[in-house]
Symmetry: C2
Subunit: 286 residues, 2 copies
Amino acid sequence: MRGLATDPAARGLLDDAAVLPFSGDLVLTKDLLVEGVHYLPDDPPADVAWKLVATNLSDLAAKGATPLGLLLGYPLGDPAWDRAFIAGLGEVLARFAVPLLGGDTVQGRGPRTLSLTALGRAPAGGAPDRRGARAGDTLWVTGTIGEAGLGLVSATAGLNDAYAHRYRRPEPRLAAGRALGPLVTAMCDVSDGLLIDAARIAAASNLAVTIDLDAAPLVGEGRAARLAAATAGDDYELLFALPPGTALPVLDVPATRIGAFAPGTGLTLSDAAGPVPLPAALGWQH
Amino acid sequence: MRGLATDPAARGLLDDAAVLPFSGDLVLTKDLLVEGVHYLPDDPPADVAWKLVATNLSDLAAKGATPLGLLLGYPLGDPAWDRAFIAGLGEVLARFAVPLLGGDTVQGRGPRTLSLTALGRAPAGGAPDRRGARAGDTLWVTGTIGEAGLGLVSATAGLNDAYAHRYRRPEPRLAAGRALGPLVTAMCDVSDGLLIDAARIAAASNLAVTIDLDAAPLVGEGRAARLAAATAGDDYELLFALPPGTALPVLDVPATRIGAFAPGTGLTLSDAAGPVPLPAALGWQH
């Protein structure tokens, strides 16, 4: 682990704390992964390391923030698993150029609970949240939605296909988040499902939101498959509100206009055939 | 949990991240507690909350830092245990006037792994660490050493005595740490044992250290009991090096001069009878 903590702020992990000079708005997030809940016990350890880092960085991306560093809480267990996890951790840290600043390693017991704290620098204009959407704003999402949900099915069935890869190695939209941060009125990442996350932005902003299912970049054919994609979660795409007339900046990932905010409350769905009844569950409920 | 996160930076825990304006040197630490490893399964949940917060704040105290806030990683399990933990968490947050800024709550599985990240502001002159002791510096420790070790024995035996209380509810030396921070050349907290932590300061500073067992504020009578106290750990007192001639500031806890640093390497012990052989283990080895 020490070999990964090369940033001067980490003090070589030889001290009990990291010391990081900073001035600005600090964005702080902490996400846990529990074996058997957030990842499958048979998932490759390097993929678990990736997912742990990527899900935390995704929260920073949704704030338009630039990552500053990570603190890891790691329960030691099977040495081969630990070695593979640490190798994967090195890979994902290098991929996103984020330093490991510190953390704690303990003797684990039972199913693993992995914890990570991510620190980032907020954009100059302030970090967006879910509360700022206004009536008339348009709703957008990056990338495609539903592949990770199919990937969970694949991974559970023991398949190593592209969907399983997407489930195990989500891509935090850091560059897109930084580009969007100064322009959006509200933003979050799609972690629990497109519909539930859109409904949460609307509720936090005291507005109604409509989504055009035909426009949404959902995987699958037919209404049932597309509704399943829209409620599956684990996509880690960015979902955001733009004031009318705002030009979308150049992003490193496609973004699609999928709906709009209006006075009122609640979520409404439509497609070419007209209004679509809401599914029983809009996504993952904590 | 939301009722505890009243600081504006926490955004009511309704967002995926906290946003904290800050300028200076940020001190970051993350300590985990594992059920059955760092606390006893039968320990009262409010005491576990206390210990989780206190051990992290103790790391800040050893940096002379002022706490800014905490991020909690909490696995939900038995509802009664969770309620008692959260009540205890509220108590310890209030006791040390530190805000809960955010975190993550997950569905737990098996023995609990609790994680906490603590953020603090370093003192103006910089945060001390273990590496700065100089030959001729004196070695000091706050409070008494060994009560928590006796407390582990008491708690394991089901006793609720003052020692068990000391084991379960350590007192982070925040005020003393702030007063000492600008004066010390090296400082750490005594978490793994007085002897091992002193040896670590000496090793990190490329020096030898001698400890006078008669001077050290160890609980117990007789050399065996005093050596047990000096290697027991969990005291969370401050251990620090002062340049010769430095006046000890007024502290809210007694501090005792117990030794000195000299050129060389290693730890030596003495008492009135002369040199004392080192015990087989100097403290808790990770």
